[in-house]
Amino acid sequence: MIRLGKQTIKLNNPPTIVNTASIVGPKESEGPLAKYFDQCLEDEFWGEKTWEKAESKIIKETVNSVISKSGIPSNDINFCFAGDLLNQCISSSFGLRELNIPFFGIFGACSTFVEGLCLASVFLDSGAANNILCATSSHFCSAEKQFRFPLELGNQRPPTAQWTVTGSGAVVVSKVGTGPYITHITPGKIVDMGIKDANNMGAAMAPAALDTLITHLNDTQRKPSYYDAIITGDLGHIGKEILIELAESKGFNIKNIYNDCGVLIFDKNSQDTHSGGSGCACIGTVFSGYFFKQLKNRKLNRILLIATGALTNATSSQQGESIPSIAHAVAIEN
């Protein structure tokens, strides 16, 4: 692999995404992408006593599913990169404790999915591994409990608020294969433009997405039109509009090829999700469920996947801190 420009890595032996799996919760099952997910749950508990246990079960079952779909025996999977939103990433570590695969717990908030793909790609290209598993999860109820208010509290959400996706997305990436290939990775910088409103994450994260997008295009000397689709993780409706305008002000027109997983996963009008979906599972499930199939069917051949994350917690919000954000990108091509 070689480094291009400021912060992009070009993979000389581009790893293949062998297969993906996705499980989503009941609200996502009523959304426009429902038919693309492997499994739709009927309730948030999935037979467990707590939401935290339910989230662990979701990531565990998604990982089991992707391993069997990939056709690679789990003994041949060398490493696992996984993370989630709960404190100390307990969904991943509890859910995957019986997996018996060397485990890296990673945290990049909602950017974790692509952070995992970046690290896996470098491991595979360097020869350190032959097959790697990447997984993330989030759960609306456990996230609300940790970051906001009890679910039964009778309060109102502002129009800028986003809805944490319940679900998990997992992929198996291999050193050799027939594609889709991860050709470039662009790890992002922490960007903080001073947004303090924890109910407006899209606006907080959009500048980070812009920074990574422009850096990637400059480093690779590509134009936005090189890609069939540029996809961000969870900027939502407001963040999406902001990113389009910010990119335009810097001379990049992405309007026709750009979309956001948080916009795609819910129907804003009928599902009352305000600015759209968010959470680690947002890009995890939408990529695993929808975009991977588009790549496999050659309806899309070159996509730039940019996962955005708000690196904040409940304490920092209460202390009035602004929200540092991050965005990691991977170019996936046939």
Binding site: P150, L151, L153, L246
Partner: protein, 147 residues
């Protein structure tokens, strides 16, 4: 659009891009539902008086009934729907206070009865209790000394 360079410029831009809450609709709903809850309270009060209870006992019965009904509706996952519609209309009367105690109690039951229910029950109502009781003590002292 001009490129945005500073945090201040970006914050101003985001303020313009972010839709505000529908304040007139929210105020109307709050006024309507809040008024309805208070009217129900008044009906209970008049009924108690009709049954021969005095003023103090009647108002205590009103509080008990409204708190009990809100707690039960919270447990049935109905109060949050009323609250979403009514906002301050169901939050400000004693119904909102009951909801703010029962909802964390349900939420944190998974952490056990001592540290979960007991420890977390007042996470939302705590500030109301602290400042409500403190201010009543201060006013009580002022009233005792000067009136």
């Amino acid at each position: 659009m001009k490129p945005i360079e500073t945090k201040q410029e970006y914050n101003d831009y985001v303020d313009k891009k972010s839709p505000n809450s529908p304040i007139f609709k929210n105020c109307f709903n709050a006024f309507f539902v809040g008024g309805l809850i208070c009217s129900i309270g008044q009906i209970i009060m008049d009924f108690c008086k009709f049954k021969g209870m005095d003023e103090t006992i009647s108002s205590t019965v009103v509080s008990i009934v409204l708190i009990a009904v809100s707690a039960i509706l919270t447990g049935l996952n109905i109060f949050n729907k009323i609250g979403k519609f009514a906002g301050a209309g169901s939050l400000i009367p004693i119904t909102g206070f009951a909801n703010s105690i029962v909802s964390p109690a349900i939420e944190y039951k998974s952490e056990g009865y001592i540290m979960g229910v007991g420890g977390k029950m007042f996470t939302i109502a705590g500030p109301v209790l602290v400042f409500g009781i403190s201010s009543s003590v201060i006013i009580g002292i002022i009233a005792t000394l000067f009136i």
